[in-house]
C-alpha cells in the first residue's frame, strides 16, 4: 500500500537559462522574474509535463512550496534601498517580492493553479514540511495532485558576512550545500496512481529527534534533501532516503511503479 505516488520530478542547480523556457512560455514573460521563482518554475513545468499535465490547463492541482530564507534577492534589495536611500525611498516593489510566498505566486499565475497553496520556510526541514502538506492536501481531498516546489537562493546576507567569519563559513564555501547554492526541484504527487506514475512512496516519515542541533558551520539548505531525492529517483531503482538533520529526521522509501 503506497503512502503516495510520484508522477513527475525535476531538479536543477545554478540558474535556469531563459531559452530553457521556450517550450513553455514566451521569454518576455520572464523578464524581471527573481531567480528563485524562475528556477522553481522551470522545474515545476518539467515535473508537471512528466506527470502528463496540460500546462495551459492544469486540473485540480495543489501547490506546496518549500523555501529557505525566502526570496533573498528582493529581501536584500529592499534592505539595500533602506540603507542606501533611506526609509522614504525604499523600494515597494522589492518589498512585495520579498514576501516568502512570492515564489508560489509566480507558480500559481504561470501555471494557472488555483487550488490549495501553502509555503513552508524552515531551511533544511522545508522540503519535508512541504511534502507533508502536499500529502495532507491529497488526504483531505483538497486536490487530485499536488505540486511540491522547492527553491533555494544564494544568500547574499551570508555571503557578505562570510569574509568576517571564514572559519564558520569554510565548510559551506567548500561544499555544494548551504547558503551559497542556488537550486530548485519539483515533484508531482498523487494519492492514487495515474498512467504517468513513476514511483510509489511506501513510507514517508518526518519528525523531530533529540539528535544534536546542527553546528553553526553546517549552514542549511532547503533544496539539498530535494536534490538528493531527485538524484535517487533518476536512478530508477527502489531506495530509502534517510536524512538526519540537526534535530529532525526524514525517511522516504520509494519503489518504481509498474502500471
Amino acid at each position: 500500500m503506497a503512502d503516495f505516488y510520484i508522477n513527475g520530478f525535476s531538479a536543477l542547480t545554478g540558474d535556469a537559462e531563459t531559452d530553457l523556457f521556450t517550450p513553455y512560455f514566451e521569454a518576455r514573460r520572464l523578464r524581471r522574474m527573481e531567480s528563485i521563482a524562475k528556477n522553481a518554475l522551470l522545474c515545476s513545468c518539467r515535473a508537471l509535463e512528466q506527470a502528463g499535465a496540460d500546462l495551459h490547463n492544469p486540473k485540480d492541482t495543489g501547490l506546496s512550496v518549500a523555501v529557505g530564507a525566502g526570496s533573498l534577492e528582493s529581501t536584500c534589495k529592499f534592505m539595500d534601498t533602506i540603507i542606501d536611500d533611506g526609509d522614504e525611498f525604499s523600494s515597494p516593489t522589492a518589498f512585495a517580492g520579498s514576501v516568502h510566498n512570492s515564489t508560489s505566486l509566480t507558480l500559481s499565475i504561470f501555471l494557472r493553479l488555483n487550488g490549495p497553496c501553502v509555503t513552508t520556510g524552515q531551511f533544511d526541514f522545508s522540503f519535508a514540511g512541504a511534502l507533508l502538506t502536499a500529502r495532507e492536501f491529497l488526504k483531505r481531498k483538497m486536490c487530485k495532485e499536488s505540486l511540491v516546489a522547492v527553491a533555494e537562493d544564494v544568500n547574499p546576507a551570508a555571503a557578505c558576512m562570510a569574509p568576517q567569519h571564514p572559519s564558520l563559513f569554510a565548510p559551506v564555501l567548500r561544499g555544494p550545500k548551504g547558503p551559497f547554492m542556488r537550486a530548485a526541484a519539483a515533484f508531482v504527487i498523487s494519492g492514487e496512481p495515474t498512467e504517468n506514475t513513476r514511483f510509489s512512496v511506501t513510507n514517508f516519515h518526518f519528525s523531530r529527534t533529540d539528535a544534536p542541533a546542527a553546528p553553526c558551520s553546517d549552514f542549511s539548505s532547503a533544496a539539498a534533501p530535494a536534490l538528493e531525492t531527485v538524484r535517487r529517483l533518476e536512478q530508477g531503482c527502489a531506495f530509502t532516503l534517510k536524512d538526519v538533520f540537526g534535530g529532525a529526521e526524514m525517511t522516504l522509501e520509494a519503489i518504481p511503479y509498474v502500471n
Binding site: M79, S104, C117, F123
Partner: protein, 399 residues
C-alpha cells in the same frame, strides 16, 4: 467526528496578555495603539502608529529567544494551562506536532546584522546569532523546547500563515499523523514589513477602520495566538474539557496579483466553500464571520465580494481595530478570539467602523450582539493571492 478538539488556547497582542483579556479588549475597544518609537528605527516611526504588545511581555524576552518565539511560547504556555495539561506529560505519552505561522521570524529579522556588514562594521556575530539568521525554524524551536517528537512546520504563507497553521494542524490530527498538535502564529513589529507596507501606500496614520467607507489602510500589529489541538482519545485520556473544535479548513490561490486580492474573490470563495463542505455546514449555520478586515481598500472589497456571494446575512466582525494586522499571527489570534466569542456567546463590535460603505454591501458588527449559533468562519488573505478559511465550533458544539 471530522473535527479536532481544541484543548486549550492562548493569546497575546495589543489588546491583552491572555485570551481572556484580549477578548475583553475587543469588547471594550481598548488596545495599545502607539507610535513605534524605540521599537523601529524608521523615518516613519513618528508618523505611522502600530498596535504594540505590552512592555512587560516584551521585556520578559530571554536573550536566546527572538521576540516572535517569545510571544509564541508565552501564548503556548497559556494554552497548556488552559487545557490543564503538562507539556512534559503529553510529550512522554503522545506523538505531538508543532505548526507555527510567521513572517518576521522566518526571514525578515536580519536587518541589523546585514546593515552592520554593509556599512563595514567588523565585530563578529555570535554563532547563535548566525544560526538564528540562517537556519532558524520557529516550529522546531518550539518543539525542542517542549521535547515533542512529532513533525513540525513553520508556515510562511504571509498573512494567511496563522489560519493555515490551525487548518493543517487539524489535518495532521484527522489523518492520524499526530495525537496532539500545538499550532498557531506569531509575529513581531519589525522594520521590514513596517516600512514595506508604508511604501506600498496601504498603511494608515490613523487607527484602522475595517469595512468603513472612509477606511484608509492597515496598522501593523504584533502578538501570538496558540491552540492546543487533540484527537478525541487524547482529550479523554488527559481529561480535557474541550474549549472548542476545528471543524473545517481550506486554502485556495487567486493566481492573480502579487499584492492585490482578486476583486472577484474567486480564490476566497473557493476556500470558504470547501471549508464549509469540509465542516459539513451550510452558510446559515454560521454564527458570524471573523473577517480578515485589514481596512485596506482592496482587501475589504474582495472579502465583501466573497461574503455577499456566499454568506449573505451572516454577521461580520473585524477585529483588527484592536489587534492591528499581526501578519503571520493574524489567523491564529483571530481563531482564538473567535473561540472566545463563540463560548461567551457574544459578538464584539468592529472597532473603527462607523460609516457604512455602499460598495461593501453590509455593515460589520457595530455593538455587542448575542450569539445563538455554535460555529463561525475565520478567513485570511495573503500577499501572493493565498486565501485560507477555517471553521471553528464552540465548546458546546456537540451538545
Amino acid at each position: 467526528m471530522n473535527s479536532a478538539v481544541i484543548a486549550g488556547t492562548g493569546c497575546l497582542c495589543a489588546c491583552g496578555n491572555s485570551a481572556e483579556t484580549c477578548f475583553e479588549g475587543a469588547l471594550t475597544s481598548s488596545a495599545r495603539f502607539a507610535l513605534p518609537l524605540g521599537r523601529v528605527e524608521s523615518a516613519y516611526a513618528a508618523s505611522y502608529p502600530v498596535f504594540l504588545a505590552a512592555d512587560e511581555i516584551v521585556n520578559a524576552r530571554p536573550q536566546d529567544e527572538s521576540l516572535s518565539l517569545h510571544y509564541f511560547l508565552t501564548a503556548a504556555g497559556e494554552a497548556f494551562f488552559n487545557a490543564g495539561v503538562f507539556p512534559a506529560e503529553l510529550a512522554a505519552k503522545k506523538r505531538v506536532g508543532v505548526i507555527v505561522g510567521t513572517s518576521v521570524d522566518a526571514s525578515f529579522h536580519c536587518f541589523d546584522l546585514y546593515k552592520s556588514r554593509r556599512i563595514g562594521k567588523t565585530s563578529p556575530a555570535s554563532e547563535q546569532e548566525l544560526a538564528h539568521y540562517f537556519a532558524s525554524s520557529t516550529a522546531l524551536a518550539v518543539s525542542r523546547r517542549y521535547g515533542f517528537n512529532g513533525p513540525f512546520q513553520t508556515v510562511v504563507t504571509a498573512c494567511a500563515s496563522g489560519t493555515d497553521a490551525v487548518g493543517l494542524a487539524r489535518s495532521w490530527i484527522l489523518s492520524g499523523l499526530c495525537d496532539a498538535v500545538l499550532c498557531g502564529g506569531t509575529d513581531e513589529i519589525n522594520l521590514i514589513p513596517y516600512d514595506g507596507f508604508i511604501r506600498l501606500m496601504i498603511a494608515a496614520k490613523e487607527r484602522c477602520r475595517p469595512f468603513d467607507k472612509t477606511r484608509c489602510g492597515i496598522n501593523i500589529g504584533e502578538g501570538a495566538g496558540a491552540l492546543l489541538l487533540m484527537n478525541e482519545e487524547t482529550a479523554r485520556e488527559f481529561s480535557v474539557r474541550p474549549k472548542g473544535y476545528v471543524l473545517g479548513y481550506a486554502n485556495a490561490c487567486d493566481a492573480y496579483h502579487p499584492t492585490a486580492p482578486d476583486p472577484e474573490a474567486k480564490g476566497l470563495i473557493k476556500a470558504i466553500s470547501f471549508a464549509l463542505k469540509d465542516a459539513g455546514l451550510a452558510p446559515q449555520e454560521l454564527a458570524f464571520i471573523n473577517a480578515h478586515g485589514t481596512a485596506s481598500q482592496a482587501n475589504d472589497a474582495a472579502e465583501a465580494a466573497a461574503f455577499n456571494t456566499l454568506l449573505k446575512g451572516v454577521p461580520v466582525w473585524g477585529s483588527k481595530g484592536v489587534t492591528g494586522h499581526t501578519l503571520g499571527a493574524a489567523g491564529a489570534v483571530e481563531a482564538v478570539l473567535t473561540i472566545c466569542a463563540l463560548n461567551k456567546k457574544i459578538l464584539p463590535p468592529t472597532t473603527g467602523f462607523s460609516q457604512p460603505d455602499d460598495t461593501i454591501g453590509f455593515s460589520p458588527s457595530t455593538k455587542t450582539l448575542p450569539l445563538a449559533k455554535k460555529a463561525a468562519l475565520s478567513d485570511s488573505l495573503a500577499f501572493g493571492g493565498c486565501n485560507a478559511a477555517v471553521i471553528l465550533g464552540a465548546e458546546d458544539y456537540y451538545g
